[in-house]
């Protein structure tokens, strides 16, 4: 039979071994006695004979009291709890954590009452009915959980009041991480009677088989805590099925320049049984309605609506697609923050310059990236290039650039390499083209760094035949998965069949042992007909690197003179430059981060939240720039950041659409869930209150131990005086 006592700080019970200290002191004193040669032995022996048993008893009592003191102190500090008096201590104070599902699915309503308003009211009642002196914390389950209060509080009235002000619409609820979060909070709570009340709508997506295993694991972890809480799931869901959601937005371009038209495809899904024959879908840009489209949406069907937009000004823009369907508004719109660029600055590092036209390593690339400027056409290029020599590569030169292209660069020194690594690590893009001047030793050494460096794959032997009419290879026509190359999946956009490559490096991965240490594996984007990789991509820090196996100029191939060269180079460059960092389209709960000039450090940025509140966030200096971080992004919607002297930046927080399917577990499935995991499920406030009465048990009893400790301290003093009677016994006069 298990002990009816458990310990909150079990490790401290080891201190109880200190009970041996008084015994050791007793034995120590007894062993270090003084010797007195005594004459009046007949007086003493009579006393000893008469009092021997009494003295032994007194000494034993004193020793027991003294030994009990440290043992009790250790026991008190270990915070013992009495868990054996089930139902006897119904008035015990409790530590209660209320997990409130505030995901957007809780906005689903029936007869004008949403699931969340039911949950909110019941949570308030649960808290108000707690025994006086109980402590409480509320965890909002939207996206992993956040707490209502900074710390658990005994002010239950205030918590109940604050719950009344809450609103749903905070992302998707994930029950397992929320339970994990609750387990952590219990470490800050003090009462031995512990409750977890999960108010949820039992949405199928949150409790389906894949989630259920993890959920079961977390429930078991809670049950194995030193003080196992009672776990109650409170079903506050109503059977509401009708829901239409804008699931996602797709963009026709990786990057948008000023004046460029971009097509936005919105994907709509009807999760319910209702039919929407003429669903109106609105397209808004920067909050202004631009167009409206009508679509017919059948039950459980999907539909797409296409919008196009050209932006007049550079900077941050927000597009929104809104379907005016059901009362569950949270997933009826989808927003996206689009940075519109005036120019994409690209640095071309020419490793083989030439005075003859088109003989330099980057001459073709420069034209391909700025075709309108090169052709003297009255149109603006999105990309602006700057050609520098390898020796000019440094942090300053790279600052402000979106992409760096290395063309036939022999090698860089350590400082330059470090600057380049830093550039990519912080979101920059790097394109690497070899040539006849490269130093394979450096490329395979510092640049490749045993798979940990910038270069995705090591450079192997040079393949092919340099002779004029020798054999050549070409780029394999295949289905390209990468966004930079998917343009070529459509034959109308041209192909690589006429590309003849005479020389190329065989790109090879590192030896197996070394490759294991690589952070991320490189991905081969395209192959040569010879079977060797043509383009290889590797993420590095927050940026990306793409390496090509042949030269950028026309020395090793005819590729620069073929039609596919220009779109490929443009797409690769834009793809690398489209990596907006820090990201502006975020999931719920992800922090907003903005990089600003170092001069802004110390000032404050203003952030306007979806509720319209304006909050200030400090700009702190980190390295060579000022950084703003704002983590309270539990509410989906638009967050606008404005820093002094800087253009506005829009951040969009979109909730996962996994909650859009409002299907709930059936009553039988809910009963099975309760049975499987050994938890209680209630469906009404009355049911909860009845069960709550039977679940209360256990009480932390360090206070009585403290009193006992104090009493024993005084008792020890009293007994010592009583037994010695040294003060009361006066010596006899002569």
């Amino acid at each position: 039979m298990p002990l009816p006592i458990s310990l909150l700080n079990g490790a401290l019970i080891v201190g109880a071994a200190a009970f041996a200290i008084p015994i050791i002191i007793h034995l120590f004193h007894k062993s270090r006695f003084q010797v007195v040669k005594w004459g009046a032995m007949h007086l003493l022996e009579t006393v000893i004979r008469v009092n021997q048993r009494r003295i032994k008893l007194e000494q034993l009592i004193l020793l027991l009291v003294r030994a009990a003191l440290p043992a009790l102190l250790a026991l008190m500090m270990a915070r013992p709890i009495w868990i054996g008096a089930q139902k006897l201590l119904g008035n015990a104070k409790t530590s209660t954590i209320v997990l409130l599902d505030n995901s957007y699915s809780m906005q689903a309503s029936r007869a004008g009452q949403s699931n969340f308003s039911i949950a909110r009211d019941e949570a308030g009642r649960v808290i108000n009915n707690l025994q006086r002196g109980s402590e409480v914390q509320v965890v909002l389950m939207g996206e992993g959980g956040s707490t209502l209060e900074d710390a658990p509080t005994y002010d239950t009235a205030r918590v109940a009041q604050e719950i009344g002000k809450l609103d749903a619409g905070f992302g998707a609820a994930e029950v397992p991480p929320a339970l994990d979060f609750a387990a952590g909070i219990f470490n800050q709570m003090h009462e031995s009677t512990r409750n977890v009340v999960v108010l949820t709508d039992f949405q199928r997506v949150s409790f389906e088989a894949t989630e259920d295993a993890l959920l079961g694991k977390k429930i078991e972890q809670l049950k194995k805590m030193a003080v196992a809480p009672s776990i109650t799931f409170f079903d506050v869901g109503q059977d509401v099925r009708d829901n239409v959601a804008v699931d996602s937005l797709e963009f026709s371009k990786l990057m948008v320049g000023v004046g460029q038209k971009i097509q936005i495809r919105s994907n709509l899904r009807n999760y319910g049984d209702a039919s929407y024959p003429d669903l109106r879908v609105y397209f808004r840009v920067d909050g202004k309605e631009k167009s409206v489209s009508q679509v017919s949406l059948q039950p459980h069907a999907t539909a797409q609506v296409l919008f196009s937009q050209a932006f007049d000004t550079p900077g941050s823009h927000v597009v929104e697609v809104f379907a005016d369907a059901d009362p569950l508004k949270a997933d009826n719109s989808y927003l996206a923050s689009i940075p519109v660029r005036d120019k994409v600055p690209v640095i071309l590092v020419n490793g083989d310059p030439s005075t003859e036209p088109l003989k330099g390593a980057t001459d073709f690339a420069e034209i391909a990236l700025q075709p309108f400027s090169a052709g003297k056409v009255e149109m603006a290029d999105l990309i602006s290039t700057k050609v520098i020599k390898p020796e000019d590569v440094n942090a300053k030169a790279l600052s402000g650039a979106a992409v760096v292209i290395l063309g036939n660069v022999r090698r860089l020194d350590d400082g330059q390499l470090h600057a380049l690594e830093d550039f990519v690590k912080h979101g920059g893009g790097l394109l690497v083209f070899p040539g006849n001047r490269v130093d394979p030793a450096w490329y395979n050494g510092a640049f490749f760094g045993d798979s940990k460096g910038l270069l995705p794959l090591a450079i192997g032997e040079l393949a092919g035949d340099p002779k004029e009419n020798g054999p050549t290879t070409s780029i394999t026509t295949e289905h390209f998965e990468n966004a930079a190359l998917d343009l070529f999946n459509d034959p109308r956009n041209g192909g690589f069949s006429d590309v003849a490559i005479k020389l190329w490096f065989k790109l090879k991965p590192a030896a197996a042992g070394n490759a294991a240490g690589a952070a991320t594996a490189p991905v081969i984007l395209a192959h040569l007909d010879s079977g060797d990789p043509f383009l290889v991509e590797k993420p590095y820090g927050d940026g990306r690197v793409i390496a090509c196996s042949t030269a950028l100029d026309a020395e090793w191939s005819n590729f620069p003179m073929r039609p596919a060269y220009l779109p490929l180079l443009q797409r690769l460059t834009v793809y690398l430059a489209s990596n907006v960092y820090p990201p502006r389209n975020l999931d719920v709960g992800r922090p907003i981060v903005a990089f600003l000039p170092a001069a802004s450090a110390g000032k404050k940025a203003a952030i306007v939240t979806p509720e319209g509140l304006s909050v200030e966030a400090p700009i702190v200096k980190r390295g060579e720039r000022g950084v703003v971080e704002y983590a309270k992004t539990q509410r989906p919607g638009l967050y606008t950041l404005t820093a002094p002297g800087e253009p506005r930046i829009d951040y969009v927080v979109n909730a996962s659409r996994r909650e859009s399917d409002l299907a709930r577990l059936s009553p039988q499935e809910i009963a099975d869930f309760a049975k499987t995991h050994g938890v209680t499920v209630v469906h009404s406030g009355n049911e909860y209150r009845q069960i709550d009465q039977t679940q209360r048990y256990g009480r932390e009893f360090w206070k009585p131990i403290l009193w006992l400790l104090l009493i024993l301290c005084f008792l020890e003093l009293f007994l010592q005086q009583l037994f010695a009677r040294s003060r009361g016994a006066r010596p006899l006069p002569v």
């Binding site: 010797v35 004459g39 009046a40 037994f723 010695a724």
Partner: protein, 297 residues
């Protein structure tokens, strides 16, 4: 040879030199002194004449009176006796106790020396008995000044140690002290109280005046020991007790009070003076106080 000043400081001698030891009762003696005898006899101081009756010794007839009155008169003298005192000194091991410089035995020998000096000084005779389980030395009372040296030597030679059976020793001593006198017992009297009182009664039945100078060490009265202490017996080899004295102090003091009470009452019953001394008080002062008290009675 030891000298009296080895035991007595000049200041001590000064404080007791004006005092005289007066025995409570009348003790027979050969020498004249300051102690009056109730017996009318034929000694130094003339008391009265009485008419001769047949049977009187002819040598006691005052022939001068006969010459003047032609009648036979006998001269009667008031006899002045001296004090025949015997100091009985305890040599038991318990007398060797003394943590603070002076042992009880040292203190006792000084008291004995004081008394001896006083008594010899006023031409009383003083004897000495030392004992532990039996009588170790018996020096009969003498009143000569040179006798004082004998006593002092004996006091110096005495070495306390071993057990004591004070009652038995006193019983054995009674026949040896066949002439009644003052017995000055200097001892801690540790032992069986009833046996002791019986022995003292035995002395009293032999018409001895008894003065007990009971010697205490302050530790024996206060029992001030702290912390674990092993008490090794000074009398019985190997007898020891390890204990926390603080826990026993109260009981010890209670036991001590009972012991002293029984002793005091017993002595009072047998008209014996019991005077306690502690070794930390000036013994000469205490002795002087006692002698003053004796004189006033």
């Amino acid at each position: 040879m030891a000298h009296v000043t080895d035991f007595l400081q000049p200041s001590d001698l000064k404080s007791i030199s004006n005092l005289q030891v007066l025995a409570r009762g009348v003790v027979e003696g050969f020498c004249s002194g300051l102690h009056r005898s109730p017996h009318k006899g034929f000694s130094v101081e003339f008391k009265q004449h009485r008419q001769y009756v047949p049977g009187d010794e002819i040598r006691h007839i005052d022939w001068r009176v006969f010459g003047r009155s032609d009648r036979y008169y006998i001269r009667e003298y008031e006899e002045e006796t001296n004090l025949r005192a015997t100091i009985i000194l305890d040599l038991s091991g318990s007398m060797n106790y003394g943590r603070n410089g002076t042992t009880k035995y040292q203190y006792a020998t000084r008291l004995a020396a004081c008394l001896s000096y006083l008594m010899v000084g006023q031409q009383d005779s003083v004897g000495l008995v030392t004992f532990d389980t039996k009588v170790r030395r018996y020096i009969p009372p003498r009143s000569r000044v040179s006798h004082l040296r004998v006593l002092i030597d004996e006091l110096e030679k005495g070495k306390p140690g071993g057990e004591t059976e004070i009652g038995k020793v006193f019983h054995d001593l009674v026949p040896k002290l066949h002439r009644r006198g003052l017995l000055v017992i200097i001892s801690d009297l540790f032992g069986n109280v009833s046996e002791l009182l019986k022995a003292l009664a035995h002395f009293r039945s032999a018409h001895h005046e008894i003065l007990i100078l009971q010697i205490w060490d302050r530790d024996e009265l206060d029992f001030p020991f702290k912390g674990w202490t092993q008490f090794d017996s000074l009398e019985v080899a190997g007898a020891k007790h390890l204990l926390d004295p603080a826990l026993l102090r109260s009981a010890y003091l209670s036991n001590l009070a009972t012991f002293r009470d029984e002793l005091t009452k017993g002595c009072r019953r047998h008209r014996i003076d019991l005077v306690p001394f502690t070794t930390d008080e000036p013994y000469a002062n205490a002795l002087a106080a006692y002698l003053t008290k004796r004189r006033s009675r």
